[in-house]
Every structure is written in C-alpha cells, then in structure tokens.
C-alpha cells in the first residue's frame, strides 16, 4: 500500500520490496521469536508465533469444530505444489495425509507439518506504473484491489482468534475496490505461517462458512488439478518462508506465466489464471492485508 502511494504521488517511479534473512544459519528467526514473547507471558513458557497461533487454532477447534482433519488437507495440497517447484525446500519430499497424522506434535494442536519452514534466503518484487510496465518484456500484472484491517489488540483481549480476523474487512475492501466477486478468483496465494492461518483466512474471505473448510478442502481442492489452487509454490509451509513475499511473488510469477511445471493452466490441469487473490498477516492474526492482482 505504501508502495502504491509512493508511485501514485510521483515520489518515485520504481519501488523495490525485498526480504532477506539468514533465518536458519544465523538463528535470527528464533531470536526474533524469542524477543516477541519475552515479557510476562514468557513466565508461563509462552513462546513465539507458534505458541500464539496454537492458542488461536485450539479456540477455533472449540468454536467451529476444525482440526487436523482440515489442516492435513492444506499441508498435503501445498506439498503437492512444492513437488513441482525446484526452488522449494520440500521439492523432493512427498507428504501424505498418513505421514502428516504420524508427525510429532510441536505446540499442540500443531503437528510438525502445520508449521511453516525456517530457512535462509530472500525474495524481491518491483512495483512501477502500468504505463512503464507495458514497455517491459513480461506480461503486465496490475493491482485490482487492496484492503487492510489490523485488529491489533493484545492476545488477552483478542476476540478474533477463531475469526472473524482482519481478513474479513480487508477482504471486503479489496473486493469492493476491484469490483469483482469470489467467483472471479482463479487462485489464491495465502500467507501460511501455519495451516490454520490458511483455513481462517479463506473462511473470513467467505470461500466457506465456519467449520465447512473440512469439506471445502477435501478431494484436493487446493492441489494441482483442483478447482481453487492455493499456494502454488508450496507456500511458506513447503516452499520457503519469505514473509509476505512468498505469496506475492508467486502470484506475480503465475500471472506472468513463468512457473514451469507448476504453472496454472494446461500444465497442471487448472484454469489459466487471470486474477489471483493474495493475503499477508502480522502478529498473531493482529494485522491483515488482502490484495487482488490481475494480468492485463
């Protein structure tokens, strides 16, 4: 959103959005997570993002009956995409529902494969005007709609852990700006720090009602060949964690047609994408951004 403002106001002609971290080899992600909860909550052993999202997911299990039967389909569906992405950390490792269920609990209710990856690496995206982009060699991908909503309260006063999260109002704003409906969306790239994040985000966007995710995801809905591809690089769960740039860069690459074996369209028995919905998340569901991109 800031990049769009800087371009529209004429402050600059190009904006580079980048992310790079030695999250694994430098141990910097664990350090960041350590400081995230290093207050009185640490007295009880509460830790990082996984601790907070586990509390959210458990409340959601209570309120609308979600759980591993839903989340395993997200983990397995995304892994099938990663298996088509040579850049994905999990490119060569298959995941079945059985191996998901057999994996160890980390911070319960999350099993190992409910958690995103922790990796070194980086991603970057360049924004410019549509006019300038028309002179470049790749197809133009433009922003149709943007929305942001940040409930932002302390975990103790958070009433949004089981939804509606900021995704609800952010999604409504983005759809209103784009002037389209969910039926126009060809694929989604959803911020997926944990499997539950994908479920609650799509639920709040209105793709299904509370607790209906288990049925909605069943039968490979989000996997290659499915009717609503989600996180087609493998996402943060199975490609790599680059914060919001994992979903954003993949949406742009898919719309440009630069995704090789995982390219949406005939290659993966899916619809060639014209419009892709993306999300980004901050804190423990405390900040949310939604954006809708299209190829022109």
């Amino acid at each position: 959103m800031h990049a769009v403002g800087a371009l529209e106001s004429g402050l600059c002609r190009y904006v580079l959005i980048s992310y790079g971290q030695s999250a694994r080899s430098g141990n910097s992600m664990m350090r960041m997570l350590y400081h995230m909860t290093r207050n009185d909550d640490a007295v009880y052993g509460h830790f990082g993002a996984a601790g907070g999202y586990a509390l959210a997911a458990r409340r959601a299990m209570h309120e609308f009956g979600t759980g591993p039967e839903t989340w395993k389909q997200i983990a397995v569906g995304q892994r099938a995409w990663a298996n088509r992405n040579p850049r994905a950390i999990m490119a060569d490792q298959e995941l079945t529902e059985e191996s998901y269920m057999a994996s160890k609990y980390m911070i319960e209710p999350f099993r190992l494969f409910d958690n995103c990856l922790m990796n070194d690496g980086g991603r970057a995206v360049i924004l410019t005007s549509v006019e300038r982009a028309r002179d470049l060699r790749h197809p133009v991908v433009s922003i149709m709609g943007l929305g942001q909503h940040n409930p932002s309260s302390d975990l103790a006063t958070a009433d949004f852990l089981a939804g509606p999260t900021g995704a609800k109002r952010a999604g409504e704003a983005a759809f209103a700006m784009a002037g389209i409906s969910r039926n126009d969306i060809d694929a989604c790239q959803i911020y997926d720090c944990f499997t539950y994040t994908v479920e609650i985000t799509l639920q709040d966007y209105g793709f299904f009602g509370p607790g209906e995710g288990k049925d909605w995801f069943s039968g490979g809905t989000i996997a290659p060949g499915g009717r609503m591809p989600v996180n087609t690089s493998g996402g943060q769960l199975s490609e790599a964690y680059y914060m919001g740039l994992t979903p954003l860069s993949e949406a742009v690459m898919q719309l440009m047609g630069r995704c090789g074996k995982r390219q949406l369209g005939p290659e993966t028995s899916t619809k060639s994408p014209g419009i892709i919905l993306c999300s980004d998340n901050g804190g423990i569901l405390q900040a949310h951004a939604c954006y809708i991109l299209r190829r022109i």
Binding site: G45, L55, R59, M61, E108
Partner: protein, 136 residues
C-alpha cells in the same frame, strides 16, 4: 537464548501491583475508576475511556479455560524438564482473560470452557506465580 533458568516476572510501573499481590496470594486486576472497566493486561490508560485513574480489585481466583496449547517442545531450554506443559488463556470470573498454565491434570483432559481455580506457585520468597488447576 541459552537461558537455563525459567524467565521471571519483570516488574514495571504497570504490572508491579499485580506481582506484589501475587506475593500475598491475591490475584489483583486493575479496574478503571472512571468507567468501571476491568482491564488486562495492566496498562496506564483505560482502553475503554482513556482515564488514567484506576484501583486494583481482588479477583476471586476462579475462571474458565478460554484456550490452551500443549508444549511438546521447549523453545526455552529451561522448560525442557516441564514437558509436556500447558499454556492457557483463562477467562476470570470477573471477565478479563490472562495467560497462565494449567497444572495438576493430564493435558489430554483439558478442554475449552473447563472450570479452573488459581493455584499459587511460590518460586522464590519474592515471587509467586498464579497457575490454574481444575476446579475442585
């Protein structure tokens, strides 16, 4: 990072009355003197009416589990000896929710909305930590 001791409360202007209350086994929460709102976590201003005037009331010490997480790994090495341990948000009888631990029961038997009561853990002469156990 390599802390081998469990984190202890860091007293500041906001939370000092709470932890001093804990030392006497009293669960104190701030109440806005202007609008009556009970707030948690402790903070300088009332989040409802922005008044800086508040008093501390004694909570009765019972509540219900709002949500919980069972740790099978120890991100803080010092908690390794406690595995598996349960971090929970408990909704106090008076309304506010606070982070705590659920103890004295099998983690598999815990459920959201389970009635619980405070159980004091005197970790030093100066510091007592309020954890919760199933209501007896």
């Amino acid at each position: 990072m390599a802390d081998m001791t469990k984190p202890v409360p860091q007293l500041n202007a906001d939370n000092r009355p709470f932890w001093e209350g804990c030392r006497e086994h009293r669960l104190k929460i701030p109440k806005c003197s202007s609008c009556g709102y009970l707030r948690w976590p402790p903070a300088f201003l009332c989040p409802k009416c922005l008044s800086a005037e508040n008093e501390w009331i004694n909570a009765c010490g019972t509540g219900r589990v709002y949500t919980y997480a069972v740790y099978h790994i120890a991100p803080y090495p010092a908690f390794k000896e406690s595995l598996p341990y349960v971090v929970a948000m408990v909704t106090l009888e008076e309304g506010p929710r606070m982070m705590t631990n659920i103890i004295d029961c099998d983690p598999a038997g815990i459920y959201c909305e389970m009635p619980v009561e405070v159980s004091w853990d005197d970790i030093t002469e100066e510091i007592s930590i309020p954890r919760f156990r199933p209501l007896q």
